[in-house]
């Protein structure tokens, strides 16, 4: 029989992945995971960090300080759905890391683009430090691997979580399981929380965040959806005391053809605010207004002083961030 004919038969044979095979063997020993945990004073012996080769590797990949213990790194990889005991899971570390991340990312965006509308500001924070972004960072950039199930024999260097059964929505408590994305994000946050505790507080976290989180490119320009651009622009001009905007034709070609192109600039008095092009006058005018509004919202000051530097040294010279009237309300 040729290999080609054998293949369908081979496919029928169920082969459990190694981690699943472990699960089958160790069901008897680990039935107490999701139910009430017995009172323990030390982490389960199966998760001895010194036995894992993955932990020092991760420690080294992230260039963590030698003062950052391997034990904390191991604890950062245990989600609360895998171990309900807060002394041994990453819940507290992740909460700390999340607060720090939200603060540092929010401060970065606020000082870089002080005029951003609130919705886009929030979306930008999520794009840097949301579940999806941190999951991508942990999985693809840092190379954290996931244990199939949190069983006794599992390597302490794997992310441990109780997986959400397929087709079920995540509940409020982690007892019913969580998605890998969510658990991975919590591990990344917990590792950052550990940096705060072991590597000397905020300066180390700031540096780590700058290198790993804020160094990623985010095109804020692409996040806009302005529903009534011409109205919003004229409201903006009225609010700021500028002359009301007028659309003017910069260039055109093939007006009577099926593929006309118009280039329209929107002016306030003699000042060009934005330029747009399109296949119709209406499109070009709308795009010009959208570009003008984007130019307003994406203003970035030359000097960006981060408020967090005063937390490190209260005597340091600090220039307050730029604040104006806020987004335009139609």
């Amino acid at each position: 029989m040729t290999l080609k004919r054998l293949r369908p038969l081979l496919r029928l044979r169920p082969v459990a992945p190694p981690s699943q095979r472990l699960l089958i063997r160790s069901v008897a020993t680990t039935t107490s995971i999701s139910t009430e945990p017995p009172v323990r004073t030390t982490p389960p012996p199966c998760r001895t960090p010194s036995l894992s080769a993955k932990l020092p590797a991760l420690h080294s990949r992230l260039s963590l300080h030698p003062a950052y213990p391997i034990e904390t790194l191991a604890r950062a990889l245990v989600h609360s759905s895998a171990d309900a005991d807060h002394r041994f899971n990453n819940h507290t570390l992740a909460t700390l890391g999340d607060s720090l991340l939200q603060y540092l990312v929010s401060e970065h965006i606020l000082t870089k683009f002080p005029r951003l509308p609130t919705a886009i500001h929030q979306a930008a924070i999520d794009a840097y430090a949301g579940h999806e972004a941190l999951d991508h960072l942990g999985r693809n950039t840092w190379g954290i691997e996931v244990a199939y199930a949190p069983v006794a024999e599992v390597d302490a260097g794997l992310l441990q979580l109780k997986r959400l059964p397929p087709g079920e929505a995540p509940g409020l408590t982690p007892d019913s399981g969580v998605t890998v994305e969510y658990a991975m994000a919590s591990a990344v946050r917990a590792i950052i929380g550990g940096i705060y505790l072991h590597e000397g507080g905020l300066p180390a976290v700031r540096q780590f965040t700058r290198l790993h989180i804020l160094s990623r490119k985010l095109d804020v320009e692409k996040m806009f959806l302005i529903k009534k651009p011409t109205l919003e622009l004229s409201r903006l001009c009225a609010r700021e005391g500028f002359e009301s905007p007028v659309a003017r034709l910069h260039a055109e070609t093939g007006r009577l053809s099926s593929h006309a192109v118009f280039v329209v600039g929107v002016y306030s008095g003699k000042n060009l605010l934005g330029e747009g092009h399109g296949g119709s006058l209406q499109e070009a005018r709308t795009r010009a207004a959208v570009n003008a509004l984007k130019a307003w919202y994406l203003y970035s000051p030359l000097e960006k002083d981060l408020p967090s530097k005063t937390l490190e040294d209260p005597k340091v010279e600090f220039k307050p961030a730029f604040i104006d009237a806020g987004e335009v309300i139609i």
């Binding site: 529903k227 002016y267 934005g274 570009n291």
Partner: protein, 207 residues
């Protein structure tokens, strides 16, 4: 038997496009572009090594803030100050007029033509007019549509929409009418309309 005329004999072998000298010459001439004037060294260009900044033409980026949008304290505002409307100057005194030099008019570059003629808002509607608009709208929403009322009172339909919005009944009637029209569309037109709507969404994202 008369010989077969040679013109009717089918040609054997593939038809190959032969690039003649004339074609090559024409193409080469087309491709032979002169360098942009900014690359030519003139007597005014710097003597030492310098950078020629001549980027290809591209759509302007919104990350460059127009000078009017810069806050008053921003240093970039000094580089290209916005053109602000001239404030009304007080009438010059006789002494000042005697001392003044003749003003040389500077020819300004005219602005491009506006798409629609800019106009001043008149705010000519009285409270009685608004009452009348609301009354007519309730009386016969079909006859007195936003456009009809706008023509009657010489305002834009937007004003009518704010002053006397059409009721829910009128909206649902209009929607039903639209659904009826849409039901007559075939596959091609439905798809074309859908694509047009999607393309229009891109306008508002600026993509």
């Amino acid at each position: 038997m008369a010989p077969v005329p040679t013109l009717l004999v089918p040609r054997v072998g593939p038809r190959v496009f032969i690039r003649t000298e004339a074609t090559v010459r024409r193409l080469t001439k087309k491709l032979r572009l002169h360098p942009h004037p900014s690359f030519n060294l003139t007597s005014t260009s710097p003597k030492g090594s310098h950078i020629i900044h001549n980027p290809p033409s591209a759509a302007p980026t919104p990350y460059v803030t127009p000078s009017l949008f810069l806050p008053a304290l921003d240093a970039r505002r000094k580089l290209s100050p916005p053109i602000l409307p001239a404030e009304p100057t007080p009438a010059p005194t006789e002494a000042a007029l005697a001392d003044s030099k003749p003003v040389v008019a500077v020819a300004e570059k005219p602005l491009p033509p506006p798409l629609s003629q800019p106009y001043e808002k008149t705010y000519h509607l009285t409270p009685e007019d608004f009452d009348e608009i609301r009354r007519l709208r309730v009386e016969d929403p079909v006859k007195w549509s936003a456009n009809a009322l706008a023509r009657k009172f010489n305002v834009s339909p937007l004003v009518i929409g704010i002053a006397a919005p059409a009721g829910a009944e009128r909206w649902s009637a209009k929607e039903k009418e639209l659904e009826k029209v849409k039901s007559r569309w075939g596959k091609k037109r439905t798809l074309a309309r859908e694509m047009r709507t999607r393309r229009k969404e891109e306008w508002f994202k600026g993509e």
